[in-house]
């Protein structure tokens, strides 16, 4: 029992070390990868465009719900004028980076894990190595670099449409004065809040893109599945681990920055 627990712990620690090494090597490969800007631009286009509709929809509904819930809570204390502050701080500090990251994981991260898993299965990754091409530099590095831009951009977009959604439910439906709402937003959000939001977005981007790429890249290492089932298992694991990582990292960053 103790031995199996010890072996399990050791294997998890080894896995963490392996992931850290994978991430570091992928980032370090940026210097040696040829024609990287073109591949980064393509990754930005893929990640950004693919996730745009879901970010707009989820951002709008999050704002709508926050406006609705916030109004009824604040109404109890006669503080409806603070609705803008509540919606904006909730979005900027917590909900936008976390929800945008989860949406990006579900949309782009799962696609990345599946794509790399299939490339591993069909020997395309080994083929790159035999051609003398650094497979991490060619396949993973552009995605990691694009995440550094796409995650903050999508998070900012999420905040913008969320604030609009909040004003829609607060002002249009429940009668809060639009001027009061927007001036409350303006007064509440400070530079430190925006900085926290961006730090979270960048961290989640690196972490989740790295995790999804790692799982797909090593789909052949799966012990209990091969072929299509290994790709499926890698994709599921990528999404689950990334989602957990987002929430865990959110707690750690918040506890340091608050």
């Amino acid at each position: 029992m103790v031995r199996s627990l010890g072996n399990y712990t050791l294997s998890k620690v080894r896995g963490l070390g392996d992931f850290a090494l994978f991430l570091a090597r992928s980032l370090a490969a940026a210097g040696a990868t040829r024609r990287l800007p073109g591949r980064v631009a393509r990754a930005v286009h893929e990640q950004g465009l693919r996730c745009l509709p879901v970010i707009l929809i989820v951002g709008t509904f999050t704002g709508l719900v926050l406006g609705l819930q916030g109004y009824y809570v604040l109404n109890r204390f006669g503080s409806e004028g603070l609705l803008g502050a509540l919606v904006s701080l909730s979005l900027v500090r917590e909900m936008a980076p976390v929800l945008a990251a989860l949406m990006l994981v579900g949309q782009a991260g799962s696609a990345l894990a599946a794509e790399l898993g299939i490339q591993r299965n069909s020997e395309q990754i080994v083929a790159l190595e035999t051609m003398g091409i650094d497979s991490r530099g060619y396949l993973v590095t552009p995605r990691l670099l694009s995440a550094l831009f796409v995650f903050p951009a999508q998070t900012a977009l999420f905040v913008a449409v969320g604030l609009w959604g909040g004003s829609l439910s607060g002002s249009l439906l429940l009668g809060v004065d639009p001027g009061v709402y927007w001036s409350s937003v303006h007064r509440a959000v400070e530079g430190a809040d925006v900085r926290e939001c961006l730090i979270k977005a960048v961290t989640f981007g690196l972490l989740t893109t790295g995790l999804c790429a790692y799982q797909g890249f090593h789909a052949h290492r799966h012990r209990r599945a091969t072929g299509a089932r290994a790709v499926s298992a890698a994709t599921t694991k990528a999404v689950v681990l990334s989602s957990i990582a987002v929430l865990a990292a959110d707690y750690v960053i918040t506890s340091f920055l608050v």
Binding site: R34, E123, A127, T130, M131
Partner: protein, 270 residues
Amino acid sequence: MEAAASGNLLVVEDLRKGFDGRPVLRGVNFAVRRGSLFTVLGPSGAGKSVLLKCVAGIEDPDGGSVQFDGRPLDFRDRDLRAAFRRRCSFLFQGNALFDSLTALQNVALPLEQTTALARGEIRARARQALAQLELEEHAGHFPGQLSGGMQKRLALARAIVTRPEMVFFDEPTAGLDPLRRNAVFAMIAKYQRRFGFTAVIVTHDVVEALAVSSVVALLHQGRICFAGPPEKFAASGHPVVQSFRDSPDALRATIAAVRRGADIPDTLEE
């Protein structure tokens, strides 16, 4: 430098490899002469692909040595590995083409990523390779839009675009019908002569291999039990060579016995 001086481009000595304690290669020895077409024969599961992957540095061998152009290969040495890969290409059983890239982009990929050539020069060389493989009009097609034979030629175009000295072919005819098998072996022989590269093929297609190879070797129980020119293979009295070479005759005898009502033991589980 003994191997290079003797005209051997590749020398494999006592190569060993196992998986989960089960030995697959038990000390493989052979030498490949520069400019020759060397074929490793063996039944399915004999470890032919493992042998090729160990020689090409895709799998790490457990022991033994591989010498390329007279120098021992150590794939842990990045510079040595990069130098080896610049001079060799590998053609995979499933072609390993990038399905999101067009035929032209697939062929241009190794040049784009491993050379400092200008974009125009890369496109010209990729187009030239496609033309040499009679695929010029399919430059804008994706691999999924090409037939099996065209995909094989496209994979070969990608393999030769870097002008390698040696090309490894892993089961190039796996899953193909006899006509396509002939066509693929004829293609390999034709382009090997045209471009002058040294070819190492692993396959279990005896007839076709004997027709095109300079040297054939038979892998049996993790060792090379025969290596020599096709004529010697065809005339060899070695029992393993005989059983592998004469398997179509053996099958005909077995079928005749089955038709006579004889009880034939099932040997697939060996």
